[in-house]
């Protein structure tokens, strides 16, 4: 975006960033909901899923949005009104800030900052505050318990997530996401540079830890204790309806899409495909499509797990994070560091 934007006034540039950012959040989120939640889950359960709205049910999403917009925006009588109403915005803000760090081409980026991925991980942790606000302000036992479970889970799984990314950072030698993509594009595997060096090969352990942590951060099955419908109705979402529920829903799937894109960027080479020079101008056109393809591949695995496995118990969930994933990711960091110095 830098090339295009250099000649524009600040307000024009900001408007373009806002519009593109909105599209970059909403389009992948919608794609995930239709492709995986509506269709893939249905096929795995031997049914067709939505078929009526539009050809092959493709307009079902618009119908759902229309339905939610018509619903009454109910605030419980005992709720803390202001915080109850602000909570979904905090979650959405975290999601929208997270998209900023992902580049979609050599010149296609929102912000090209030095701290890059570190900034992304920092803003992704803001959503926890939104969830806590929602759970507490609802003034409902189910909501509060859901929020507390969600917080315990998000804190526990944020650590392995950050530590898994550290391996990539050590190998790339930079926090800047664009430079991480470049390092993968121009990297070599034992002197062979034909396919670059996607870090999924050398950081496979980190990739697995990152995917598991993403699954938990999204509070999806098998890590859906916070919204366990058989115990807590829907956890911190229980009291929400209409537009505000829709915002949480969009936030959940947009975050799923962005985390998938982040995994694709950090481990699968981002917008780069082998065969072209990494600085080729063509990537400014096909980069977003390549990134979307890789994102869908990662998201496919995430949702495959979601639809397949039963729910973890709370203690199993915490044990997996603290006793397995964190030590494993620390070992990964040590080995990566040693190998980085040796080679």
């Amino acid at each position: 975006m830098s090339v295009v934007l250099a000649d524009l006034a600040y307000w024009q540039e900001t408007t373009i960033r806002l519009v593109v950012g909105l599209i970059a959040v909403l389009l992948p989120a919608g794609t995930l909901v239709y492709l995986f939640l509506f269709k893939m889950m249905s096929f795995m359960q031997s049914r067709l899923g939505p078929m009526e709205a539009g050809p092959y049910g493709s307009l079902q999403l618009l119908a759902e949005v229309g339905k939610f917009l018509q619903k009454e925006d109910i605030v419980p009588q005992a709720a803390d009104r202001l915080i109850f109403k602000l909570a979904p915005f905090v979650v959405l803000i975290s999601t929208f800030l997270l998209i900023l760090v992902i580049p979609a081409g050599p010149d296609l980026w929102f912000i090209d900052v030095d701290t890059g991925i570190f900034l992304g991980l920092a803003v992704s942790s803001i959503s926890v505050i939104g969830i806590l606000m929602a759970g507490w302000a609802s003034s409902s036992k189910y909501s509060l318990l859901g929020a507390l479970r969600a917080t315990g889970q998000l804190i526990a799984y944020e650590l392995p997530m950050v530590l898994a990314v550290v391996g990539v950072i050590i190998q790339a030698g930079t926090l800047n996401v664009q430079e991480i993509v470049m390092a993968q594009a121009t990297g070599e595997i034992f002197g062979f540079g034909g396919i670059g060096n996607p870090y999924v090969i050398t950081q496979f352990v980190g990739f697995l830890i990152f995917l598991i942590a993403v699954q938990a951060e999204l509070t999806q099955p098998p890590f859906d204790m916070p919204v366990a419908e058989s115990e807590l109705v829907t956890g911190y979402l229980t009291e929400y309806s209409g537009l505000r529920f829709l915002m949480f829903f969009i936030g959940e799937f947009a975050t799923a899409a962005i985390f998938s894109a982040l995994a694709a960027t950090l481990f699968l080479g981002g917008w780069y495909v082998p065969g072209l020079e990494a600085t080729d101008n063509l990537f400014n056109v096909i980069g977003p499509i390549i990134l979307l393809g890789k994102m869908l591949l990662v998201a496919f695995f995430i949702f495959w797990f979601r639809f397949t496995y039963p729910r973890f118990r709370e203690d199993q969930l915490q044990q997996l994070a603290w006793k397995v994933l964190i030590p494993l990711s620390l070992v990964n960091i040590v080995i990566t560091g040693v190998l980085k110095v040796v080679f």
Binding site: D114, I129, W136, K141, L148
Partner: protein
Amino acid sequence: MSVYAEMVGLDPLTSGEVVVAQNIAFGLIAVIMLFSALRMVTTRNVVHAALYLVIVLAGSAAIFILLGAEFVGVTQVLVYIGAIVVLFLFGIMLTRGALGVDEEEKGEQRLMSCLVAGLLAIVTAGALINTFSDAELTRSSPSTTATVGDSIFSQFIIPFEAISVLLLAALIGAIVVARKD
């Protein structure tokens, strides 16, 4: 460097010009921070207080970024907002889930806390004025993460190690407190 700086042909942090936008931003952030800090200590609702603290901490992160200390600003968000305030809120909600004003707090410690806070303010202000009274903010270029890392692991290695040991001691202490036997 920002696109804005490229356009007008000067880097807002290195050039000698006073950048109006930066000053306005600082003023706005400072007003919001002051208001939130006041509300944080005056509100009777302890969850509201924690949420006001989030705004104050976000403001200080914004000021770090205004000063070109990008890494410190982001760390402020990750550590203070993303972890410490979340743990505050978690602890508050776990121990006193009820909504609304906490009437039990009659404020026996109010005098003492006012005293400590006042003393701290005087000492900090005195130290700052004593050190920086006639110093001007040098317009250095934004510090990169690499330079921050270099200075931590060379010039400031001993304070860094000391903090590491302190944190380790705190961790062990937490385990000792939590142990049942």
